[in-house]
């Protein structure tokens, strides 16, 4: 006996095996990301209110690049549309059209990842500088004209730098938690279009120096964990869809119906990956 319903749907359920499988898999994925979102809520509710980095364990606000995040959202939504078009092209028996749409989808996925890489790099060169008097600022370092990655105070001392130049961020209004009074100076700086202010700190006065990495604050921990896990899903999707786009011709010619089913199943996964981002973007960037 052969395994039934691998291609044709079972009459009473109306589904072929792989479609049942992918929906079940997505259910478990919902629980996986659901756990991360729940963790996000619990950690955030537990964080003390106040301006981060002044309240060291507070919740950092407004440090992610919203225009870039919005653009990336649009990229993923576009890819979600084209993956359906690719599937529809197969239903029309038009393989070249399928290939065109699928290549565009994969390009979107890779574009998303490239943009995300730049965003990550921007965080790795962005620092929180805590001074021994208890105050703290954020900003990029200026070491010979650029900001190095992942430095700690030890690196500064090893380079025998005595005064550290920092492009200190002038906080905008998004940096303040809802309900906190925004100082007048913030509005004025905004009107003047001032975003950075170069300051010099004596290394002897600095208590600690940390880039925006997962161990810097719980916000960054959950931000990096969730976006990295989502990024892995994007990468997995890009690999699978890319495989079908570039190496699928032979299988399509031999088993057109099964190939179309595979595109449908992979497309369902791809929609899910987009959907996660649709939740992730407002939660980590906007709220």
């Amino acid at each position: 006996m052969e395994i039934p319903y691998t291609v044709k749907p079972r009459p009473d359920t109306g589904l072929y095996n792989a479609k049942v499988g992918i929906w079940l898999f997505l259910a478990s994925e919902v629980m996986l990301f659901g756990a991360f979102f729940s963790a996000y809520i619990l950690l955030r509710v537990g964080a003390p209110e106040g301006f981060w980095p002044d309240v060291a364990t507070g919740w950092p606000h407004g440090l992610l690049n919203i225009p870039i995040g919005t653009f990336n959202t649009a990229v993923l939504i576009a890819s979600s549309v084209t993956v359906v078009m690719a599937w529809a092209a197969l239903k029309e028996n038009n393989f070249p059209k399928f290939q065109k749409f699928m290549v565009f989808t994969v390009a979107c996925a890779l574009g998303f990842l490239t943009i995300k890489t730049f965003e990550y790099n921007e965080k790795f060169t962005h620092y929180v500088v805590r001074l021994k008097d208890g105050s703290a600022v954020t900003g990029h370092l200026n070491v010979d004209g650029h900001s190095p990655r992942f430095w700690t105070l030890q690196d500064v001392e090893e380079k025998k730098i005595e005064a550290l130049k920092v492009e200190v961020d002038v906080p905008n209004k998004f940096r303040f938690p809802v309900g906190m009074k925004i100082p007048e100076a913030v509005h004025e700086a905004h009107k003047a279009g001032k975003h950075h202010e170069e300051k010099e700190f004596k290394v002897a006065d600095i208590a600690s120096l940390k880039a925006f990495v997962p161990s810097t604050a719980t916000f960054f921990a959950i931000y990096f964990t969730m976006t990295f896990l989502h990024g892995l899903h994007v990468l997995a999707g890009a690999l699978v869809l890319g495989y079908f786009a570039f190496l699928g011709r032979k299988f399509w010619q031999q088993h057109p119906e099964q190939f179309t089913n595979r595109i449908e199943v992979a497309g369902l996964f791809w929609h899910f990956v987009d959907l996660v981002w649709i939740f992730l973007f407002p939660v980590v960037y906007l709220l």
């Binding site: 395994i3 095996n17 079940l24 478990s28 629980m31 756990a35 950690l43 364990t57 719980t218 921990a221």
Partner: protein, 566 residues
């Protein structure tokens, strides 16, 4: 057949987990004395820090304790019930040629195997295996070992592999049961074992991902230095660790128990399924209340998701929350009692055949009953505050899984052995195995209730000698029970020897079965050639009737197979 691969691997893990426990029991009964036979070997293999002069050190006790729990639950019982029996029996019982996704099935086995290998390798790295209990509570789990690659890190990597394996398995099981049922195999004609597997698969599918998330977060805490579970102001050994803080230890507990409570039902439901099959077959009458059994198992599946915080009464939760979880916990005992009652009533008026599988299945009933009923005082907030983390909990939990689930597994092994090999296991050796196991299991776990009620705390590597040995509250009686328990554990080990011998001897020398259906059973798994070939069935099976048509009035034989037309 992947089911058999799963079976052999996980039986080996079961034996290994049992040996860890034996070493621990020896230490509890004779603290500070070298472990006989293997003490010297342990010192050589695990290092002086762990077993100096063959004596189990505190760190080693903790590591064995954590790994005993992990191995038994995730590497032995779940793969045995779900991977082995589920894989082997479910497709046969629904009349399917194979699982829906055979390659996924293989991938699942490989992930399980490598997860187990990672777990085992952690014994031999500097600092030893994970030693923060099978629950791995933070911040202890993150702070216990300062090596960069430590036992806890490997534990987490192993867990992520095992969880992924279970998820693939769960997807495969549900898809198989929904899609590959034979013609005529409607939902209400499914054998109860298949229903139990179906609900179990859903529990694994939906409860495991949160633990995977928690595992990844704890991995980040250990490796990347994040503070998901490390609170602000944490002090370890008198100094403040260099972490950002702002995390929540309770978050770990919530995510952990969100899996680990449904996991308890993962451990028990398939065993109930096996027991139901064996009882129906050996009482020669239909299961009493098949529909109530099905609805009860579905209710358990649903309620299992909303009881997890009864493991956390001592975390200082509000009384309203505690009341909620206390109520749901009492509710979930109702379907469990329905199942047990239906199985008991099934015995009434049957002409019972007392063969080895049936003896194990019969002893499952009172053993699980004791395990279940002793759980009620733990489910109540007020009494749990006293009993929490005492040996009472150990006794309760082990009554459910050791003489409960493991007896179910033994019943299943003796029952389906002729299907897999074409030979019967020896009845005489089987009965010795059963009788000895039943006595010894009770000898081990019954005294634990007494110790726990007396206030003896779990996870003390000297067996409580510090608290009960001298001074105020001295109670040498409680300590003497340790010796009794250890003696029973060693006897239990000896009574497993007939089983191990019987298992291997019967593969080649057991009595050959005379037909494909030696137990004269009704379900489709006995209508295949023995052993089932690739594709399982010689001709396409069709289900013409319900699963338990025994002793139908007016029919010539006392059983009417599901596949028999007319």
């Amino acid at each position: 057949m992947i089911g058999i691969q799963y079976g052999i691997t996980s039986l080996l893990f079961l034996l290994f987990g049992f040996l860890l426990m034996l070493a621990m029991r020896y230490q509890l009964a004779h603290p500070g004395q070298p472990i006989p036979l293997v003490g010297g070997l342990m010192e050589k293999a695990l290092g002086e820090d762990m077993a100096k002069g063959g004596v189990m050190q505190a760190d080693l006790y903790n590591a064995f304790g954590a790994m005993h729990g992990t191995i038994m639950v995730f590497l032995a019982i779940v793969p045995l019930l779900f991977g082995a029996f589920g894989n082997y029996v479910t497709p046969l019982q629904i009349g399917a040629p194979d699982m829906a996704f055979p390659r996924l099935n293989m991938a699942s086995y490989h992930l399980f195997f490598w997860g187990g290998a990672v777990m085992l390798s952690s014994f031999f790295i500097p600092g030893g295996a994970a030693k923060s209990g099978w629950t791995s509570y933070s911040p202890l789990a993150t702070m216990a070992d300062s090596n960069f690659i430590n036992g806890q890190t490997l534990w987490l990597v192993g867990m992520v592999l095992l969880i992924t394996s279970s998820l693939l398995g769960a997807v495969n099981f549900i898809a198989t049961i929904i899609q590959l049922r034979a013609k005529g195999m409607t939902w209400m004609r499914l054998p109860f074992f298949v229903w139990a597997q179906f609900v179990t698969a859903f529990l694994l599918l939906l409860a495991f991902p949160p633990l995977e998330a928690a595992g990844l977060m704890q991995l980040a805490d250990n490796v990347l230095g994040t503070s998901f579970f490390l609170p602000t102001g944490l002090v370890v050994n008198g100094s403040k660790p260099d972490v950002s803080g702002g995390g929540s230890p309770l978050l770990w507990q919530h995510l952990f128990w969100f899996l680990a409570h449904p996991e308890v039902y993962v451990l028990i439901l398939p065993a109930m399924g096996i027991v139901a099959e064996v009882i129906a077959n050996n009482t020669r009458k239909p299961l009493w209340g098949y529909k109530s059994l099905v609805y009860a198992v579905l209710s358990i599946g649903f309620l299992a998701f909303i009881v997890w915080a009864h493991h956390m009464y001592l975390t200082g939760m509000g009384t309203k929350i505690a009341t909620f979880f206390q109520t749901t916990t009492m509710m979930i005992s109702i379907p469990s009692v329905i199942i047990l009652t239906a199985l008991f009533i099934s015995l009434w008026g049957g002409s019972i055949r007392f063969n080895t599988p049936m003896l194990f299945a019969l002893s499952f009933l009172p053993m699980f009953g004791i395990g279940g009923l002793t759980g009620l005082p733990l489910g109540f907030n007020a009494s749990d505050i006293y009993l929490h983390d005492s040996y009472y909990v150990i006794g309760h939990f082990h009554y459910v899984v050791a003489p409960g689930t493991i007896f179910g597994i033994f019943a299943g092994i003796y029952f389906w052995f002729p299907k897999a090999t074409g030979r019967m296991m020896s009845e005489t050796l089987g009965k010795i195995h059963w009788f000895g196991s039943l006595i010894c299991m009770n000898g081990i776990f019954m005294p634990m209730f007494i110790q726990g009620l007396r206030g003896m705390s779990r996870r003390m590597y000297d067996g409580g000698a510090t608290y009960f040995g001298s001074g105020v509250g001295a109670d040498p009686g409680v300590l003497r029970l340790n010796n009794a328990i250890t003696a029973a554990a060693i006897a239990l080990a000896l009574f497993q020897l007939p089983f191990i011998f019987n298992f291997f001897w019967s593969i080649w020398n057991g009595k050959k079965v005379e037909s494909d259906n030696p137990w004269e059973a009704t379900t489709l798994d006995w209508q295949t050639p023995t052993p089932p070939p690739h594709g399982n069935f010689a001709t396409e099976p069709v289900a013409h009737r319900g699963p338990y048509e025994y002793s139908v009035p007016g029919s010539k034989k006392d059983f009417t197979p599901q596949g028999q037309p007319g």
